[in-house]
Point group: D2
Chain length 144, copies 4
C-alpha cells in the first residue's frame, strides 16, 4: 500500500542496511507517529483524563521522535551511522516507554491498546536495524 | 497494516466526516510525506540534479504540508471545519504541483514516477473530503 | 538573535513579499509552535487538566500548523501564492482559536497567558502577509 | 523575543536541568531548523547545485532532528534522561556534520556561512546540556 519499499529500490541505495528491514522501520515509524498523535488526542477527550496525563506526554514525545526518524531513514544518500544509531536508540526508547504506559490503560481504553501495539511494532522494527551487522562495529566502539 | 482506521473507530469520532475517507486521507498524507522526502533526497543524488531543483523544492514543501495535515486530521476531538478546509486545500495544491513536476521527470527517474503516484493518491484522498457534504456549506459560504 | 532575516537576504529572494514581514512571520511561527508545545504539556500536568482538554487539542494543532508554515515560508525559491495563502489562512485560524481558548485560562495559568500572547503575535504576523499587496489579487479572485 | 524562557518558568519545571541552558538549547534548535531549511532551499537554487548536493541532504536531516529535539525539550513534565540524551547526541552530531559541510562552502555562499554559524551555536547549546551534571551519571553508566 505504501510506496516506501518501491522508493527505496529506486533510490541510490541504503548502504549496507537491509532494504526489507529499513522499509519496515520507516513504515512502522510513520504508523507509530500517527497512532501516538491519535491516542494523545483521544486521551484528552476521556472523562478520566487525569489518569492519562503521562500517556499524553509520552505519546507526544514518541510521535515527534518517530516522525523525525522516518524522515532521516527515508534519505538514503548518506547514512551517517552514528546519527542513525543515536536516533534509532531514541526512537526505541520513546516507543518502549509509550508502549509501557499505554499497556497499563489498554483494558479500559481501546485507543491505548492499539497505540501500544503500534509502538511495540515500531520498537521491534527499529531495534532490528540496531542489531544488524551494519551497527555491530559502531556498537562495539561506543560501548553503547 | 496501519492502525489508522482502528484508532479512528476507538476515538471520540470524527464528527460528520466519513471514517473510510478520513482514514484513507491520513494514510495517503503519511505515504506522500515519505515519498516526497525520499524523492527530494534521490533528486539531489542524481547527476542531472540541476534539472531537478524545482522538484527538490516542491517535494520538500509537499512533505511538510502532508505531515502537518496527517497530524491535524488524526485529532478527532474537535474538527474546526475552517482550519481543516484550508489545510486540505493547501495539501491538495502542494500534492498537485509536486505531482505535475514529478511527472515531467517520470520517464527518466523512477523515484519521480513513484512519488508522482503517491502525490496523486493523496491529492484525490484529500479532495474527496473537501467534496464531501461536511464541507459543502462552508464551501458555499466562503465562495472558495 | 535568530538567523532568519540574514538567511532571507542571502537567498534567492522572496518574490514580491516584504522581507521584514516575512522574516517576522517565520520567527513568530517558530515561537508559537514552541509555546503551544510547552503549553499543551503544562496543561496535561495541571490538577484541573479536565478543564484544559480543549486547550491541549488546540495547542497541538496550532503547533503543527505553525511548524509547517515556518518551513514553507523559509523556502524562498518558488512562492506558490495559492499554497502560501491557504497555509497562512490555516495558520491564522489555528492561532486565533488557540489564543481564544488560552485567554479563557490566562488568569489561572501563566503558561496559557504566555501562549495566548505568542499565538496573537503569530496571528498578526501571518495576517499582515495575507493583507499585503502580493495577495490582494489572489484574494479578489478566490473571493476568500 | 521568544517566549521559551517565560514558558519554562511557568511550567512544572525541568527537573535538574538548568533553565538558562535548556531555554538556550530550545531556541538554538528552532533557529538551526529554520537555517537548515532555508539553506537547503538556497542550495538547490544555486547554479553549482551539483557541488552542494551533500549540503542539501545534511541540512535536511539536521532540520528534522533539531525540530524534534526542540519539541521534546519543550515538554518539561517528564524528562526521560535516556531519551533526551540520545536525542541530544543525534542533534549534536547532525549539527556538527552540517556545519562542517556548510563551512566548506561558506566563502562562496553566504547562506552556507550563516547556516554553519547557526549549526555551531546549536551544537554548543546541546552539548552544554549533555555535559551538565544531570547527564554525568547516565554518561558514566552508558559508557557513551
Amino acid at each position: 500500500m505504501s510506496h516506501t519499499r518501491e522508493l527505496l529500490d529506486a533510490g541510490p541505495g541504503p548502504g549496507n542496511l537491509d532494504r526489507d528491514e529499513l522499509s519496515a522501520a520507516i513504515d512502522a515509524c510513520l504508523d507509530c507517529a500517527q497512532a501516538c498523535t491519535a491516542c494523545a488526542d483521544a486521551d484528552a477527550a476521556e472523562e478520566e483524563v487525569a489518569e492519562l496525563r503521562t500517556c499524553i506526554g509520552l505519546c507526544s514525545d514518541c510521535a515527534d521522535v518517530c516522525g523525525a526518524t522516518a524522515r532521516v531513514l527515508s534519505r538514503q544518500t548518506r547514512y551517517d551511522e552514528f546519527l542513525v544509531q543515536r536516533l534509532l536508540q531514541a526512537c526505541v526508547r520513546a516507543c518502549s516507554s509509550c508502549a509501557d504506559e499505554c499497556e497499563r490503560h489498554a483494558e479500559h481504553h481501546e485507543h491505548c491498546r492499539i497505540c501500544a501495539e503500534s509502538c511495540r511494532e515500531c520498537e521491534r522494527a527499529c531495534q532490528r536495524i540496531l542489531d544488524s551487522e551494519a551497527f555491530q562495529e559502531l556498537q562495539a566502539l561506543a560501548g553503547g
